[in-house]
């Protein structure tokens, strides 16, 4: 049997904002083709983990290491992470007044393409690409002429994130509560869009509070993050259990649970 190397390997990751530690020893491994779900109470550090992996300057990594496709992720600038195939769909995509979404997306696409020695697209060709991809997430095509996320509805913001993901075709996509704020139909559309992007080489990490999205994007593993570390991992059924029982029952067993890969 040929052993695949992991897409992502997080080892004993500690991170803080200012003096406050938020991640307290995260271990986590994602293999090609896998879908992981991360669940956990509010404030447990899910978005922090995603942001640290994406390279947000606000967070300081105090310990640990992260390998992305075998390379040291933490030493890379955020743009280099993106160029190597890392993608984060933000829980709260920021509004940027005055920067047109289509122009931003083209700059993003071309930066990534260029770094890979692949063809950059002019506005016309890029428009065509966007049009075909927009269908995937059923995004109103007039939105892309507006400023990035400015005045977008919650659902529109999430669709826009997935549109970008589909354009950039990342190796690893972390979707931070992409399902929150989506109505039932939108959830299905977005989930199907995500599924269409899956290959045997890339991987998806879905951060969510609800098992519903996992009905569409079926996870191989469900990991529970609590107070800055993973306290339990299981199969898809764990998501149902969480939704039925909440997280309290986990706290008691936290110390006894073997964590990580």
């Amino acid at each position: 049997m040929v052993l695949d190397s992991p897409v992502l390997e997080v080892r004993n990751l500690w991170a803080s904002v200012g003096d406050a530690p938020i991640l307290k020893g995260v271990n986590f491994r994602v293999m090609p083709g896998e879908v992981h779900a991360i669940m956990g109470p509010n404030g447990s550090g899910k978005s922090t983990l995603a942001n640290v992996l994406a390279g947000h300057p606000l967070y300081q990594v105090t310990e640990g290491e992260v390998l992305f496709r075998g390379e040291d992720l933490l030493s890379m600038a955020p743009e280099d992470r993106a160029r190597r195939g890392f993608f984060l769909s933000f829980q709260h995509p920021i509004e940027i007044a005055g920067v047109r979404l289509d122009q931003f997306m083209r700059a993003s696409y071309n930066a990534v393409q260029k770094s890979r020695g692949q063809e950059e697209l002019d506005a016309l060709k890029f428009d065509r690409l966007v049009k075909s991809k927009s269908k995937l997430v059923e995004l109103d095509p007039t939105l892309i002429r507006r400023s990035v996320n400015e005045g977008f509805s919650g659902g529109e913001k999430k669709r826009t994130e997935i549109l970008q993901m589909s354009i950039l075709e990342p190796t690893l996509a972390i979707l931070d509560e992409t399902d929150s704020g989506l109505d039932v139909d939108a959830l299905r559309v977005v989930a199907e869009g995500i599924n269409q992007l899956r290959t045997t080489d890339n991987a998806v990490v879905v951060i969510t509070h609800y098992q519903r999205i996992l009905e569409y994007i079926v996870p191989d593993v469900v990991n529970i993050l609590s107070n800055g570390r993973f306290v339990k991992s299981g199969r898809r059924e764990l998501a149902f259990e969480i939704e039925a029982r909440g997280y309290d029952w986990l706290q008691e067993t936290e110390d006894r649970v073997g964590v990580g890969p």
Binding site: A54, P57, R81, A82, F90, I94, I96, S108, A111
Partner: protein, 448 residues
Amino acid sequence: MQQQTAYETPYLEAFDAFQGGHASGDPAFIQAHRREAIERFGAQGFPTARRGNEAWKYTDVGPLARIPFQLPDPSRGALVKQGQLKTASFGSGEWPKLVFVDGTYSEELSNLPRSRNGVTICNLAEAMTRRPEVVEQHLGRLASQEENGFTALNAAFVHDGAFVHVSKDYAAEHPVLIINLSSGKHPDSVSHPRALIVAEEGAGATVVEMHASLKGSRYFTNAVTEVVVTPGATVRHYRVQRQSPHAYHIATIKAEVGRDATFDSAAVDMGASLARNNLGVTMAGEEGHAALNGLYLVGDAQHVDNEVVIDHAAPNTSSRELYKGILDGKSRSVFHGSIIVRKDAQKVNASQADKNLLLSEQAEADTKPAFWIYADDVKCGHGAANGQLDENALFYLQARGIDRASARTMLVRAFAREIVQLIDLAPLRDYVDRQVIKVIPQLQSGAA
């Protein structure tokens, strides 16, 4: 009378040679106007005293005054080729263009359409003979009451200049470009660009005034522009200043807006080590409207000062001012906006805002609003905001593969866009946008 200091001497000396020399053929009223002006300049001097001088409190013209700038030697005329105009020019080749090199009108570089009915575009020296009645009526009328010596100094050397006149109910077919170019061949030289723009009743004109340099040399530009917007007329007046980083740029723009008239202006400042714009607009007739917009991008130790005075002398007039600044390095900006509403000018609606984006810790932006309201039924609004680049926005762009420098450029450009979009002339919008993109990385390196 103020005591005359040595700072003024070189200019007083140059005057006699100028008045008796190549400008001696000008009409008598111009010669008289100049004589009066040089006396006023001698009396007023440069506004170097800052204590108790509110208008010049934040801008030190001492460094400018200390350099004895000379009129360029006309015998060493600078040869500038058409191709060199490219960076200072934009739009269609059809557009009328008045080009001045180091303050001197260049017929070869200019492009004047054959005189059309209703529209006269020429240099001032020619206008003195072609339209003496207009020149005599308006030249110096709006810009003569100035408190400071710069306007007087300009008037003392008025000879060449730009002249745009649109007769009653005519609209100028194309925008008019006035290009003031410094060749860099006359170090430490001074020029006194002058423009007179008159739109008669119901007329329309768009004028773009460009101040640019071919080289990074040190010189002094002392410009005066007068804009007469008579009842029912519309004038768009846009200025772009991208002079050498060692240049001193003083500009006075005076406009009078009549009944039902519209004055739309935008000033873009990117160059000069010291730039000071005195914009004064009088709302002289009911239902007049003025939009005064400004954008400045400065770095290093650049200093830019916008003094904007809007005088609502008539009721039911409105004005909207929006200035935005981008500051890097140790640069400094001053926005000094005064709104005057006269006693009987009821139902005036005036708003003013100055917003700055500070790209470095050492940059400083000062906003000094002043209101002089003597009517009681008035709507006046004021806003000011200084901020930094949004780290979260930068990160968002980077997280999508865009490098930090490009991300920064995108955000700064977005900040400037609000002003760029207010320019009602698409080719100029594109030109300014391109210049903004070009200048941003230079500001950054200036800071490093």
